[in-house]
């Protein structure tokens, strides 16, 4: 790719897309930040960069966003249902506009529940999870377009953390600060394949420049694989919190199974009666207290899906990326957590101590 290559980053209002767009901008490379809607533009708008509405379910917006673009780094996810269709829409627009390289950010979740040392030769495997299954389907569509002549690179990161991460930084910090999280003995002893965000971005941008990359899949993993319990403990220490409680696996399994139908019912009610629920919460003090209590409990109890992830004993190998792209992750867990906590402080997460049930 020439230095003048204009790169469209989809999902630039999100965690990974935001980082990719910012890094390209800070390196002085031409970049266009595609955001789902203007309300998602707060992050890229801090830079004087080209921002365009780019809802992956809206072909007209994609067509507009694709003008003059030579390379696409597709980080937008959308809802589970729109992952595959949205990816197809982006691919179609890129193909029609003669894009020279398409990088699709996928996930190691496509390997399903396989354990052991896993590299790119392992097959994708469904685990009846909508996110992972749709990601597999999205990869399949990518290969269809590759065979049509759109040069494709697929990148599979595992657990990405760091500043701006919602799932593995903000949400986990919330659980830890709320004091309801812990060490789940026997239930979270699987391997946590962590990659710090800037290492992932380095890997993506190496793949964007390498002549060897098109037609390849790369796993991009970080330098350390602690267990999930170790990750919780080290994050808790970095937040300077009292030691975590230890929960036995039977107890946490029971609590998780108990909470799951309640979680589904609440989600259902919230989707249908959000306005009414908000109104009740605003007018009834006692109802508000109960809702807050339930919400905190829900947020701080692992889901069935989480326990599957926490128990998985898989190591994702990024030897291929190292050899072919020169990829070398450099941020260890200590440094990554230090950055994450500094960022959490900056956004006000620790300015007030959380109390149980209060938010």
């Amino acid at each position: 790719m020439s230095p003048d290559t204009l790169t469209l980053v989809t999902g630039a209002g999100g965690f990974i897309g935001g980082w990719v767009a910012e890094t390209l901008y800070l390196r002085g490379e031409p970049v266009r930040a595609g955001v789902h809607s203007w309300s998602g533009a707060a992050r890229p708008a801090r830079f004087c960069m080209d921002i365009v509405p780019c809802n992956i379910m809206n072909p007209a917006e994609l067509d507009e966003a694709m003008q003059g673009v030579s390379q696409v780094i597709h980080c937008a996810k959308g809802s589970d249902e729109s992952i595959a269709q949205g990816t197809q829409n982006v691919l179609e627009a890129a193909y029609r506009h003669g894009v020279q390289r398409f990088l699709h950010v996928s996930t190691t979740e496509v390997f399903g529940q396989q354990s052991g040392r896993i590299d790119e030769t392992f097959p994708c495997q469904s685990m009846q999870d909508p996110y992972a299954d749709n990601k597999i389907q999205a990869e399949n569509v990518c290969w269809e377009y590759h065979s049509k002549g759109l040069p494709m690179v697929i990148l599979r990161p595992p657990i990405v953390y760091g500043p701006f991460s919602k799932t593995f930084t903000v949400n986990l910090a919330y659980k830890l600060l709320a004091g309801n999280w812990g060490i789940f003995k026997g239930a979270a002893d699987g391997l946590c394949n962590l990659i710090y965000i800037s290492d992932l971005v380095d890997g993506i941008l190496l793949a964007a420049k390498s002549d060897l990359a098109p037609g390849q899949v790369f796993i991009l993993n970080g330098p350390e694989q602690p267990t999930w319990n170790e990750y919780f403990e080290r994050f808790n220490d970095a937040l300077d919190l009292p030691p975590l409680k230890v929960y036995e696996s039977q107890g946490i399994g029971f609590k998780t199974r108990l909470m799951e139908p309640l979680r589904d019912s609440i989600k259902f009610a919230r989707n249908r009666f959000e306005r009414f629920i908000k109104l009740v919460a605003a007018r009834q003090r006692q109802a508000r207290r109960i809702m807050k209590f339930v919400e905190t409990r829900m947020k701080t109890t692992p889901r069935v899906h989480d326990l599957k992830l926490y128990g998985r004993r898989a190591t994702y190998l990024s030897g291929k990326a190292r050899h072919m792209l020169g990829y070398q992750p450099v941020v260890d867990l200590e440094e990554g957590l230090q950055m994450s906590v500094q960022w959490l402080d900056q956004i006000g997460m620790r300015n007030f101590r959380y109390t149980k049930g209060a938010r």
């Binding site: 800070l26 707060a42 300015n351 007030f352």
Partner: protein, 339 residues
């Protein structure tokens, strides 16, 4: 104007704030709705909103209503408030302006001066002053119930999810945007109002690389009180304030409108502020009906332009003194070049 005449109000700007806030509030005043004029240059917005809220008519150019409106609500991007506001005020037409009143204090002064000259009213939607627990804090501080304030902390952390139609926050002139100017308008107004005037900005930093900042920290001081404002658009964190006074500490959650926590002599107690105002829509209805009464010369504005001028001056000062935050997660050499 007499009570018998129902005022003709023009709602200028049919973006998200009109749809989510003003129209639902005005809908509780059927006579006003029947005479409402919607103004927006985008015909699809006019069609969408008029389909939901039957109004008297809809026009694309605000100049068409200059001889017709008895009062106007300005719900336009901030950069247009002063420009459009002056046109109506100069004709003696009362204006209700969405917050922030203007993009800087100089423009706010022009609006205030024009209203004064023409002996008309400039009402501003700094709605949070009428929210019960904020008003109670003002009362407690003004009466020195717990002595003078010594330390104030104010934290707002919420993911930006306002369904902005125009995206003006993120694509207009950098001087008109960012969390401090936008969401901060309320927070800064509280701080100035509670402390009885504009504090001095001691330090200010944000994460703007030339665009609109999404995180801002401001440290300030007024008399014996030092304070810190922390704002972010990146995650939902507890939005709270805390004011340490000589004899007690007052704490509150931004969105729990009727409760304060008072810590005194080592004990905490809840202070419940009874009020019919529970939701933003309740506040919007108060603002809308007050504006109607202001047009009819039956009430004074709940909040007028000059009330909030100091908060805009404070914001200007915070922007003037702002430096780039320390963000070690960006590589230093890259950040240096851009900053």
């Amino acid at each position: 104007m007499t009570r018998s005449k129902v005022p003709h109000i023009a709602l200028i700007g049919c973006g998200a704030i009109a749809e989510e806030y003003y129209l639902p509030a005005l809908a509780s005043l059927p006579e006003i709705m029947e005479n409402l004029i919607l103004v927006d240059e985008n015909p699809s917005r006019l069609d969408k909103l008029s389909a939901k809220y039957p109004v008297r008519r809809k026009v694309r150019d605000y100049r068409e209503v200059q001889n017709e409106a008895d009062g106007v609500i300005i719900a336009l991007p901030t950069g247009l408030h002063a420009l459009v506001g002056v046109e109506f005020l100069s004709r003696g037409i009362p204006v209700l302006c969405e917050k922030p009143l203007a993009e800087d204090a100089a423009r706010a002064r022009i609006l205030i001066e024009m209203a004064h000259q023409k002996e008309t009213e400039l009402v501003v939607n700094y709605l949070q002053r009428i929210i019960p627990h904020f008003a109670m804090v003002k009362q407690l501080l003004a009466s020195k119930t717990f002595g003078s304030p010594l330390k104030m902390e104010y934290v707002i952390g919420e993911i930006f999810n306002w369904p902005t139609v125009s995206g003006f926050y993120f694509k207009s002139d950098p001087s008109t945007r960012g969390i401090l100017r936008d969401r901060g308008a309320h927070a800064v107004d509280h701080i100035c109002w509670w402390l009885g005037g504009k504090p001095t900005v001691i330090s200010s930093c944000n994460d703007s690389f030339g665009g609109s900042e999404a995180v801002a920290h401001v440290e300030f001081e007024r008399d014996s009180c030092k304070g810190k404002l922390v704002m972010s658009w990146f995650a939902d964190v507890p939005c709270r304030f805390s004011i340490e006074c000589e004899k007690a500490t007052i704490e509150g959650e931004i969105y729990d409108y009727q409760k304060l926590i008072i810590s005194e002599n080592g004990r905490k107690r809840e202070m419940i502020v009874e009020s019919p105002i529970h939701t933003k829509l309740d506040v919007a209805r108060e603002i809308a009906s007050n504006f109607v009464a202001v047009i009819q010369k039956e009430e004074r504005p709940l909040v007028c332009g000059s009330d909030v001028l100091e908060s805009i001056e404070f914001t200007d000062e915070a922007y003037e003194k702002a430096r780039l935050m320390n963000m070690p997660w960006y590589r230093f050499e890259e950040v240096q070049d851009v900053a």
